[in-house]
């Protein structure tokens, strides 16, 4: 399988270096250090361009890989219950196709519903466009720029924007063929993977562990995000229906899709309902949409998701945000949706499977060590403050820190 080949090809260079990997402080600097760094950076640039050049193939093949990883437990569950390998393969394929089918159906159903609604709003769109044009010429812009900007408000353009999120109609067919074929082939090939990884372990323990951890992390993240995304989409849909925003179902599907884009997705998902809310109900409705989306998004993505995903991903916020932008530029909209699995793949290939690079894990966002240190420091600082404040509290002064003061006064009677 292509990703296995690549894994091995990429993992080979670090191997010979591994034996003389002493603690970092004493490692002699290689005579080729600058050359290696520049070659590594140049290699990254060239690989990014290569990936961008085959983005259409790459993104759908990778999506198939992620889906295969996500449904793999179904296969092992079936095999544990004595189902034959061939039957398990068919069951896995059916499960994935069913999931995709449900999504595609929901998407097209809501899209068709929205399309039927759209002609009613053409007039409103044009009034808007002329209003904006008048405002812009008031600012002193030329007619040409205004015409350019007005075309953005063309209803057809709106459809284009939505359509580009999943690819154009022609690309859709190609993508579907690649995706389904890859899914079937990967489902068949996934049957011996467990054995292969087990055999790989004695020879390349780090690579095997990293690959295993990668599948677990991606599965956990994608499955959790999918369920939370469904919840978010349905709640948004119901809320929009109650508020009377047109095309609620489509915006629900959009919210589901965008929930896979960390940090940025929310802002993309909220734009169309705001536009249509403004068309139908003016400012009050826009405010209501923003408040509803904000609350739902904050609860799901800031409170629920980190707790459920936990340390499975362990990417820092800065890296996450950058990876969304980076993969969106390299691979297009699907790159933004798959940003986390893609970045984890890069980390698995370059960092996790390479003993010389483990120190970068912390800088990339694996804060386990830092958290422990922080907790210890916090406890120490708190104890110190308590000690310091204890005599002060009895003296009746010092209440700069209410928490510490309260703790001190709690401690005082006992």
């Amino acid at each position: 399988m292509w990703w296995n080949r690549r894994k091995q090809a990429e993992a080979e260079p670090p191997e010979p270096a591994a034996p003389d990997a002493a603690p970092a402080d004493t490692t002699p600097v290689s005579a080729h250090r600058t050359a290696f760094i520049m070659l590594g950076l140049a290699g990254a640039v060239v690989v990014s361009f290569g990936i961008a050049a085959i983005a259409e193939i790459f993104v759908w093949s990778f999506f198939a890989l992620v889906l295969t990883i996500c449904v793999y437990p179904l296969r092992s569950w079936l095999e544990r219950h004595g189902v034959k390998r061939g039957v398990a393969t068919v069951a896995v394929i059916l499960a994935v196709v069913l999931l995709l089918g449900v999504f595609v159906f929901a998407f097209f159903f809501s899209f068709a519903q929205f399309l039927a609604l759209l002609p009613q709003y053409t007039d409103e769109f044009q009034t808007w466009a002329s209003n904006v044009g008048a405002w812009l010429s008031g600012l002193g812009l030329g007619q040409q720029q205004i015409d350019e900007i007005s075309t953005w408000f063309d209803p057809g353009k709106v459809l284009d924007v939505i359509g580009s999120l999943v690819g154009s109609a022609a690309g859709f067919v190609t993508a579907g063929v690649i995706l389904l074929t890859m899914l079937m082939l990967m489902a068949m090939d996934s049957s011996p993977v467990r054995t292969l990884v087990r055999e790989l372990y004695p020879r390349r323990p780090l690579l095997a562990t990293a690959a295993f951890a990668y599948t677990i992390g991606v599965r956990r993240y994608m499955v959790v995000t999918t369920f939370l995304g469904i919840a978010q989409g349905v709640i948004n849909w119901i809320a929009l229906v109650l508020l009377g925003v047109p095309g609620a179902a489509l915006w629900g599907v959009l919210a589901f899709l965008c929930s896979f884009i960390p940090n940025v997705g929310y802002f993309i998902a909220i734009i169309p309902p705001i536009v249509f809310g403004a068309l139908v109900g003016g400012w009050p409705l826009v405010l209501a949409v923003i408040v509803v989306y904000g609350i739902i998004n904050a609860v799901v993505q800031s409170l629920v998701q980190p707790r459920v995903v936990g340390n499975a991903v362990a990417l820092s916020q800065s890296i996450t945000f950058f990876s969304v932008l980076f993969w969106a530029v390299v691979l297009g909209p699907m790159g933004a949706i798959l940003a986390i699995p893609l970045t984890l793949l890069v980390r698995m290939l370059l960092v996790d499977s390479n003993p010389n690079m483990t120190w970068t894990r912390a800088a990339l966002g694996d804060f386990d060590e830092a958290k422990k240190v922080m907790e210890a420091e916090d406890a120490a600082a708190k104890a110190e403050r308590k000690l310091r404040r204890h005599p002060a509290a009895s003296g009746g002064s010092a209440a700069a820190d209410p928490g510490a003061a309260a703790a001190a006064s709690d401690a005082a009677p006992s």
Partner: protein, 369 residues
């Protein structure tokens, strides 16, 4: 196996294993550098916001230390860091927006005079024997239609700028939160030596911008007062320009001088323009060339040639913002490539960093003594 003649570091076992001839290695390194910088150039739109946000967070990060010593919770300290970073960005953005609005509002008033001046310059040029072509080009640059076109394209660029600014704001939040966690790690960059280089880099960047902002403010106030006294229109805009261009090493002063000098030429003819140029030169040469390097060179230790080259280079690679960020970017390249490498001792000295704490050459004598 040829060893580079520039190394004065002890050649260890690593050198004996070296597999590439020196020339090949140098050529490969340069080829790779070309590819890498081409990649940065092509990706500048997503990389520039990262660099801006990183620099702002580096500057604002120390705010948290006194707060944490006073027992503030971490999230509150992080919030204050974000607030300070946003204040810096808001002040800069506010100054720029205010200056451009003033400038655009002033343009129509002086369009006729601009054209007249351009015509007279064209006459002078042709009388000096320059071809009409050059003269035409000069006058077409100052054509009010062109100026309006420039203004419109500026308005067009504002959209792209707003997107990038939004990214910067988002990065600031995430980076401030991440920086709080990095601070607690035992080693951030893998070894104590690398951590030393990192710490020096961060404090160098911080000092550089703080010193530059202070001097920029002084220069801006002096320039503004001077222009106001000479009766140049919108002196406050040129003061702001002087403040912003002060962050561009070496040639920033020239960039900040051109527009007020041109305006002085339009308003008051050659004598006024000469007065502006002379006064600017006195103020800026005294402050920027004689006094400021004493403070800045402490902070960054970059040779003058290198700092000038880095302005041109980074402005070319990541656009105008690269001129303002040139020093931190060059320092980053040096911290990544030159400082950890004992073989690159000569290169480091050439870059303007004569001695380095933590390297063998300094540690050994101090241990002996």
């Amino acid at each position: 196996m040829t060893r580079p003649a520039t190394t004065d570091a002890p050649t260890g076992a690593g050198a004996a294993r070296a597999g590439l001839a020196h020339g090949t290695r140098v050529l490969l390194t340069f080829a790779a550098a070309v590819v890498a910088f081409a990649g940065i150039w092509l990706g500048r739109e997503i990389l520039a916001p990262v660099a801006v946000a990183a620099v702002v967070v580096i500057i604002a990060h120390p705010v948290r230390f006194p707060l944490e010593r006073r027992g503030w919770p971490k999230w509150a300290a992080t919030t204050i860091v974000i607030v300070v970073a946003y204040l810096i960005l808001a002040i800069l953005a506010g100054l720029l927006v205010f200056a451009s609005a003033q400038f655009v509002a002033m343009l129509p008033d002086y369009a006729d005079e601009l054209q007249a001046t351009a015509a007279s310059i064209a006459d002078t040029l042709s009388s000096l024997g320059l071809s009409d072509e050059a003269a035409d080009a000069t006058s077409s640059i100052l054509d009010p239609g062109t100026l309006v076109g420039i203004a419109a394209s500026v308005a067009d660029a504002v959209l792209g700028f707003a997107t990038a600014f939004f990214f910067v704001l988002a990065y600031v939040i995430f980076m401030a939160a991440d920086a709080a966690r990095f601070g607690r790690l035992n080693t951030v960059f893998g070894s104590t030596r690398a951590d030393g280089i990192g710490t020096r880099y961060f404090s160098g960047v911080r000092r550089y911008y703080v010193v530059n902002a202070t001097f920029g403010a002084i220069v801006a106030v002096l320039d503004g007062l001077l222009l106001w006294a000479l009766g140049i229109p919108i002196p406050i805009v040129w003061a702001i320009l002087a403040f912003v261009t002060n962050f561009v090493p070496n040639i920033g002063f020239v960039l900040g001088l051109i527009p007020p000098a041109v305006l002085a030429l339009v308003v008051g003819g050659w004598p006024l323009a000469l007065a502006v140029v002379l006064a600017y030169c006195v103020i800026n040469v005294t402050l920027q060339v004689l006094i400021q390097p004493k403070f800045v060179s402490d902070a960054v230790d970059l040779s003058l040639t290198l700092s000038f080259f880095s302005v041109v280079f980074w402005a070319f690679v990541i656009g105008p913002i690269g001129a303002i960020l040139s020093i931190p970017l060059t320092l980053l390249v040096r911290a990544l490539l030159v400082e950890p490498d004992d073989h690159a001792e000569t290169l480091r000295r050439l870059s303007g960093n004569p001695a380095q704490e933590g390297s063998h050459h300094v540690v050994e004598p101090s241990q002996a003594g």
